[in-house]
Symmetry: C2
Subunit: 236 residues, 2 copies
Amino acid sequence: MPQHAINPNVSVDCVIFSFNNHELEVLLIERSAGNTDKVDEIKALPGNLIYEDETLDCAAERVLTELTGLENIFLEQVYTFGDPERISKKHDQDWLRSIRAHPEARVITVAYTSLINKERFNLTPSSFARNAVWMKVKNVPQLGFDHNDILEKALDHLKHKIYIEPLGYELLPDRFTLAQLQKLYEAILDDKFDKRNFRRKILRTSFIVPLNEKQQGVAHKPAGLYRFDKSLFHQM
Amino acid sequence: MPQHAINPNVSVDCVIFSFNNHELEVLLIERSAGNTDKVDEIKALPGNLIYEDETLDCAAERVLTELTGLENIFLEQVYTFGDPERISKKHDQDWLRSIRAHPEARVITVAYTSLINKERFNLTPSSFARNAVWMKVKNVPQLGFDHNDILEKALDHLKHKIYIEPLGYELLPDRFTLAQLQKLYEAILDDKFDKRNFRRKILRTSFIVPLNEKQQGVAHKPAGLYRFDKSLFHQM
DNA sequence: AAACTTAGTGTAATTAATACACATAGCCAA
DNA sequence: TTGGCTATGTGTATTAATTACACTAAGTTT
């Protein structure tokens, strides 16, 4: 078996979320329909076939890096999609013919997800990604393959997860206000909370610790800044 | 492509739980090491390669039926295992050579799980399952492949799920006592609860409804019987 | 009739969840 | 410099959920 032989039947797709202080965003790549003149851009999640000699986790990390330039992202498996028809729509096949040795092969895909603060990373798309873009989750158009379903599942995963772990310290700046944190929870859970009750609940945890600093240069009473204390969290 | 062509790279494995009134049990099949004389029985989860033209969900249901005779079991996807070395241990390879066209092919496997009341189903093992047996989860020996990891993950899945859904109405008789229900929760969560607090919490839900019947022929005060009311549950 | 076994029950104390309104700090514009 | 703007920050009362804890009752067995 040659090194880095490709497994034609298994791919990984990555659903990377970020937060712009108001809404959740997701990272998409732009592909162009392979065999047409018109630049028929269809967006998709970053994903590709795995190599025979790598784990699924490694494949996800590699593929994400190859397509978007994001490195050292901690990815978590979400779900596996295996409808035999999932890649056989005409415009998906057109595009696959331009990049794959066996575009018609049955491909099941393992979805991975992560949360990142997009300010901390540069996008440098390459391989078959013409471009990599952040899109508001609420504005995501029809994607290639079954990627809308995959996105949906990753969102569900995220909603469940936020009940268990204090997510979103990945998504926020190191120093953040409680209003920012509340907006993030509201964006993920697609809900609204009472400010006083939210603050009480957050501060009860005691791993969100106040810094003795305030926001600067805002046209209103400046908010106090807080940080997430990882060691306090893990010793719970 | 021939009908029912096998996809050599993707399998499904099923983790089927039942409950014997004291402990959780899991359904295993027995295989014999293919190329040796001694009947070297290794147990494994029921699982096999998928067909090219079926969904993963259908593959799981089909494979379960083929190996154990269980039909119409509602299976739920848990996790996908894809270590390149997961089937390459010697005794696993020995066995695969006896049943597979390409025993050395890289196989990733999608794990499914379900809960059933074993009293309601007959096991009729066939295909390469010499036998199908229920084993107490706590007594499960070293299994073939990475099946101990898969079982572990399915157990985690179950523990999370019981917080969300009132599981285990699958696992109990139609009419059950609150003590049976409590034992089931204790078995799944590997914990002990206070009887009064447990009863209060269960009865608060109001879809566990009392029948006006009591246990018969037990050598102590007979317990009242209850049933799970699906329609009351779903209208919540 | 006494012994055995599991069923069934109540209360008090603590903690969490919910609903709700107003004074305050800093900036900006008139 | 004053008044207006905007988002911050705070407390209380009510209700619901959680926890801890011990004895009597019903039926069977000996």
